[in-house]
Amino acid sequence: MQVISTRVRAALLATTIVFGPTAVFAQQAAAPVKGGQIKVAIFAEPTTLMPLSQDINVQIIAAQLYPSLLKFDGKITPKPYLAKAWRVSDDGLTYEFDLVETAKWSDGKAITSADVRFSFEEMILKYQPAGKSNFGVIESIDDSKPGTVVFKLKRSYAPFLSLLNSLYAPIVPKHVYEGTDPMKNENSLTAAVTGGPFKVKEWVKGDHLTVVRNPDAFDTPNLDEMTFRFISDASARMLALKTGAIDYLPPSAMPYSSLAMLEGDENIKLQPIGDEAAAKVLTIGFNLRRAPFDNVKVRQAISHAINNEFIAEAVSFKHEKAAVGPLNSKSWAWDASLKGYNFDPELAKKMLDEAGLPVKADGFRFAMTVNTRPSVAVFHKANEIVVQNLRAIGINASLRPLESAPYTASTYIESDFDVSSVAWISAFDANNLAPLYACENIRPAPYSNFMGYCNKQVDELFAKGAAESDQAKRKAVYVEMQQRIIDDAPAIWPMNWSDWSASRTRVQGLPAGPWDGRDPMDDLWVEAK
């Protein structure tokens, strides 16, 4: 039901762009209303207003303040934004974008191709942690015509357009940031000079931040005003939504337990965001540097011992299905032909016996610890079940609860763990599995290949898939790659994992992109009360 409404809205949005705002669709939905204001809950005060920040609360607000070349729906269909039109050369090496001529920064200066070039070369590539891996493929940027920016790529790179969103590629004013340290620049604290649909009106420290429609923007939002309230407790956020003190909870602010409690409230609309694009998989990875997890037979045996269906049902309050492999089954690159591991504890025991790990006198084969983060409900609940499943086949497993900083350190930096859990958003392009499964990404840094998994054939398939532009051929490559990863079992994949947003029913046109609500909310509108 909710999925359908997302699609209808995406279709509506697309049609509105083609036929202009006068098109009438009386039967499907009311026309967007101009004006009005809403309150949005985020879970902490933004640490800055610098759009390249890694703080999700900053990113949600910055997407309203700064433009990007394109914006996207839940299917990652690129839509005009700061770029009103674009052309891609046949060889896939040249991308040309025509900017909206009337686009201006809030201090009156025009937004030109020089700002775009500066944002990529001096900001994104230098200061965004993911900048080099996302845009290292850029050979050069031509800003000789103010209204047109031309990217030359080193090689054909299929995901390129999909990365030009407000999260990965925000455009900032060159004349404000040139020659400064962006984090210390005054504008990063005040966002006085912006060019997006909204601008900052007030920021009451620790309490809320209000943005209002930017009258000079190239893109006119429907709403007059949005207030972001900082509510750090998940239950308090949910109660605020229930009473109407808050109108919208972006997905990052919504655990499954809140979902279960909001269900059935007729004033509340729940929807999974990003459709297929934001879909994640709960990934519980082995430390392949350690015995006995360096033995593929042991990993396969454990894969058979984990009751994925039960985990999916219990953890998500029946909102998710068990996963098969590293990609969410909503992804275009996933295929029903993929063969995973059925739940079969007896087979698991037999395989462990054969691998030379029999039950010893103390009743166990060997001992292991399961890294878990109690503050992330999905990890913690799933790992509790994993431990029970492991003990049932004679492995002396115990939970190792860690707070976020030591968790990140033990998982990614020190490689001091037996198994550890991560959530991986990769569905919108299967190439995004590379940071987690490609050999070159084994390094002591966050969001890398923490398992130490390396299969040259998988690496070759990653390269082949990224260079291929035909979608059907790409899919064939990625299906083969997924099956190889599944067979190697570097991780177990108990459940598909989507993020849900919750809103009062009067709120329409919520961001449908895959980035946890870190998309422009310019199409958002509210029904008159």
């Binding site: 902490a44 007030e202 620790g206 900082f230 109660l239 229930k242 009473t243 030591p406 890398s448």
Partner: protein, 325 residues
């Protein structure tokens, strides 16, 4: 007459090594905790080991720990608490911006619960084991022992969700002119629930202490004398029993003042109150060393100041200390 300056002087002198010890211990604890601010800062997205190394270098985290400590101590002695890793703003500014909210919440709670706690304690002690004593002490024990975050949610469910009388979160409605009448009305409206919940805890604590202390005091010989002199009951209680009973309470109240600026972490979280408690929790999660050290230092200084103040109050209410020095 010179007793007061002498005592204050001694206490302040004693505070200097105490403060230095506090800074050393705080610094050690924070750096001994596992986890690294740089990994928390870079967030998601593939980042190279070189980038992380550069960031670590720029924050001075590659220096030996004793060098880092000396750098920190030098700047603290010059009044510079450093720059937050996460907010990129001076720590002193960030803390200062949150002090008013915490002071408002804790100050209101402090005044209300001191008044109610003393009142309940006195009333209960006047007639031990009576109905009024039992009712008041049951409330006090409940208030003192029920977890405030749980009570906070129950209060939210009743007064904000079901009855809709009070707001659910935050300190003020958006869009109000700061300092205007409407603004303060909104702040007061938001203040009711968190203060009520927190006060129940502190009232319970103070009421129980005051009752015990009052019972002791009422058994004193001087009370018998006062009664024999035919003084009125109220005069005996207010002029003779209460002043003698209050000394141990001052110790507790003094300690509480010291902890006031550390904020009420759980209550602030439940009610979305923009105070120092929530700030500290976030600083811990992000391993924002300078901000955390600043918060710890502030709390330590407050405890030391409160102790000196407590000693002064002792002098005021207990003449014996003055003559003995």
């Amino acid at each position: 007459m010179s007793t007061v300056p002498r005592i204050v002087g001694t206490r302040l002198l004693q505070a200097v090594p105490l403060l230095i010890a506090t800074v050393v211990v705080n610094f050690a604890i924070i750096h001994l905790a596992p986890g690294d601010p740089v990994t928390m800062m870079v967030g998601e997205g593939a980042v190279s080991a070189d980038q992380m190394e550069a960031l670590r270098e720029s924050l001075g985290l590659n220096n030996p720990l004793h060098i880092q400590f000396l750098d920190y101590l030098t700047s603290v002695l010059q009044g510079d608490l450093g720059t937050s890793y996460v907010y990129h703003q001076p720590v002193s500014e960030i803390i200062a911006s949150r002090i008013p909210a915490t002071l408002l919440l804790m100050g209101s709670t402090y005044l209300l619960s001191t008044f109610l706690g003393l009142l309940f304690g006195i009333v209960a002690a006047l007639r031990p084991s009576s109905l009024q004593d039992r009712v008041l002490m049951t409330i006090a024990i409940l208030g003192y022992s029920v977890p405030t975050f749980w009570l906070g949610f129950i209060a939210l469910m009743i007064f904000a969700v079901e009855l809709g009388w009070l707001p659910i979160s935050g300190m003020v409605e958006s869009g109000l002119e700061p300092g205007s009448w409407e603004y303060w009305k909104s702040v007061l409206h938001h203040l009711v629930l968190p203060v009520a919940v927190l006060s129940l805890f502190y009232t319970g604590l103070i009421a129980r202490l005051m009752r015990t202390s009052m019972l002791n005091s009422l058994r004193g010989d001087f009370i018998v004398t006062a009664r024999a002199m035919g003084l009125s009951n109220w005069r005996i209680v207010l002029r003779h029993a209460v002043p003698n009973a209050i000394t141990p309470i001052v110790t507790v109240l003094g300690l509480q003042i010291g902890l006031m600026l550390s904020g009420a972490v759980l209550t602030e979280t439940v009610f979305g109150w923009p105070g120092l408690g929530v700030l500290t929790v976030q600083a811990v999660a992000q391993r924002d060393y300078p901000l955390l050290l600043g918060m710890f230092l502030l709390t330590s200084v407050m405890v030391i100041i409160a102790n000196v103040l407590t000693d002064l109050v002792y002098l005021a209410i207990n003449p014996r200390l003055r003559s003995n020095g």
